[in-house]
Symmetry: C2
Subunit: 379 residues, 2 copies
């Protein structure tokens, strides 16, 4: 258990790293961030800034010298980047096994299924031959996804014929892929799990995620699913955290079918966009949980403070016609604004989010949507 | 109204500046801090660090170049330090008038009384002759306080005779003082006021402050006072903010007498230790309110999210026998820990605080006291 005053190292300086840093500092920890961008969101708030590529040996050495424990804000960390920490017995949390598994769809789905937990039907694709067999097995259509490095719909293609599948596989450079069967889901959910080094895990009530153009748009909590489905998602997520020997905050994404059966979509070994609503509306935030677990402290009960909560992302698109009308938020005193300090509001770029709570998810969702809409509509 | 992305300058890098910085950054502002200590709590989290004395002309120039608005975390700022900002039309909030008034007890009490608001009886003391007359007028005893630069009981002496009064006045270097009559108060309270540039102010329900050795020990909210007393304190505080043409967060300290009449003790033109409970337990924190007002945004409703809240300071004394037993906090999952990143836990030094909420102030107070006690008692 690291005492306050110890330094936590964070690989990655985006908004997730930024909130990890803010929370760690509020608990008295020091924070060192490694990110190549000197103006990265987390560098802006960090105590020690290491400005270098994630695979720069000297920079990793420097971070290892500074840190008593280290974590990552994204799953695509090369294993070689973890070596300087492991060599010095500096705890890396989540650990190498969890990262290696979650950065590779084939390994991840294999682990999930091996734990007796359902995913969409899938096949590993390493060649055109694999692709043909997989497509046939899935009835001639599916979603081709690169096994590594995809996010927000990138590295994915819906394919409805062998020609389309081959074209997509070629476009992806014939790297290892998975072909997934199309699941006719009713909605998408995520379970946020905090698991500490003692193996105790806590899950938040299930979040329901509404996407737009493959990017998370709105999250509401608790999800509008049956109690049995919610229970199944929470218990399976805790089980997966255990299988991964996970320490830190994990998000497990699910598809919920019309009959309320659930299948795992994918895992995110870190705080997650859908968990941003925990900052303002839960007893402890996902970043609090993550930082505690990284530092070897116990995870904490994971509860909403209100009957319902909602979060709406603010993408760069909102800046299309100039600065959003921030003064409009005066009409929404109960909606909280979060911005990540990014200078360039490109379309699709996550610039910030809004959160609200209410007595019902419908009302919480209405609040964040109304407030977001007001930002581009003169009053 | 400054848009997110603008830089707020903060004179002073203690825990108040640190929380201003954290909140400003969460709302997308950038933060530049001026403090002579490179390891000051706010420097640890700030985007731009100006490490220099508060009256260093080059450093003030640098802060003025960086900042679109500037604020202070303590009242004892020399007027000359504000000149570089005022010269460039950079808003200084709270303004020069409020700072000049609140850094001088004589000016402050004069303004309060001129607004028709009661203080303890007091007399300005510039000479031994003044002192003799003041002591006689107050019945032979009182509290001598330096007019400037006092805090946490420093620059104060209880005097019961002319000899004691003269000795204290001499010890203070015969600087201008006030001699105050001793008020037999039942309890001490504070009102937190957020007033924006449009003149709209909001007050939190009254806080009750329990001191130990002249340092704030525990705050509970709402205070255990009559409704009429609470109403009087809130309305007088809002009136004082108006008299000061105040923009930002102001704290007004009161004495409440056994018959529930109230008199103003002193003003703090900034977020205040008693307002730390707002971070976890109010709709918007005192730092949120301060930052919004500094940036020219509207102040927001100032309400508790729970029936009652409490805060207990963690002073350096807690480290007397070594590192506090942080793992004991696992037994208090609803108590929030805050630490300010200070390396040296000297006795009396404010290192952090705990907050909790509950259905009653008695229960909230019990929670923070029990958690604090556990920190030094092996489980």
């Amino acid at each position: 258990m690291l005492p306050p005053g110890a330094t936590l190292g964070i690989l990655g300086g985006g908004q997730l790293g930024r909130y990890m840093a803010i929370v760690a500092q509020q608990r008295g920890f020091r924070v060192a961030v490694l990110d190549p961008d000197p103006d990265a969101p987390a560098h802006q708030v960090a105590h020690e800034r290491v400005i270098a590529a994630y695979d720069d040996p000297a920079a990793l050495e420097r971070l290892a010298q500074l840190s008593q424990a280290v974590t990552t804000e994204f799953e695509n960390v090369p294993a070689s980047s973890l070596a300087p920490f492991l060599d010095r017995n500096i705890p890396v949390r989540p650990g190498a096994k969890a990262l290696a598994t979650c950065q590779d769809r084939i390994a991840e789905k294999t682990l999930v299924n091996a734990a007796g937990i359902e995913t969409a039907p899938w096949h590993a694709v390493h060649s055109d031959q694999d692709l043909g067999m997989a497509l046939a097995a899935l009835g001639g259509e599916g979603i081709l996804k690169t096994s590594r490095s995809g996010y927000d719909g990138k590295g994915q293609a819906r394919v409805r014929s062998l020609d389309e599948a081959r074209a997509a596989f070629g476009r992806f450079g014939s790297v290892p892929c998975v072909l997934e069967g199309v699941v006719p889901f009713a909605l998408e959910c995520s379970v946020l799990v905090a698991r500490d080094a003692h193996g105790r895990s806590h899950t938040l009530p299930v979040c329901e995620n509404i996407h737009s153009h493959h990017i998370l748009d709105v999250t509401i909590c608790p999800a509008r699913v049956s109690e049995a489905a919610a229970r199944a998602m929470r218990s399976r997520s805790a089980r997966l955290a255990q299988e991964l020997e996970y320490v830190g905050h994990l998000a497990v994404e699910f598809f919920v079918l019309p009959d309320q059966t659930v299948v795992v979509n994918e895992l995110a070994p870190r705080p997650h966009n859908s968990g941003h609503l925990t900052i303002d509306t839960a007893l402890h935030s996902q970043f609090e949980q993550h930082v505690r677990c990284i530092a070897g402290w116990n995870s904490l009960p994971y509860e909403l403070l209100h009957p319902a909560a909602a979060m709406a992302n603010l993408l760069g698109d909102l800046w299309e016609h100039g600065e959003p009308l921030w003064d409009r938020l005066a009409e929404f005193p109960e909606v909280r604004l979060h911005l990540y300090g990014k200078r360039a509001p490109r379309p699709g770029r996550k610039m910030g989010h809004l959160t609200a709570w209410a007595d019902s998810v419908a009302e919480a969702e209405r609040r964040v949507r109304d407030a977001r809409e007001a930002l581009t509509r003169p009053g």
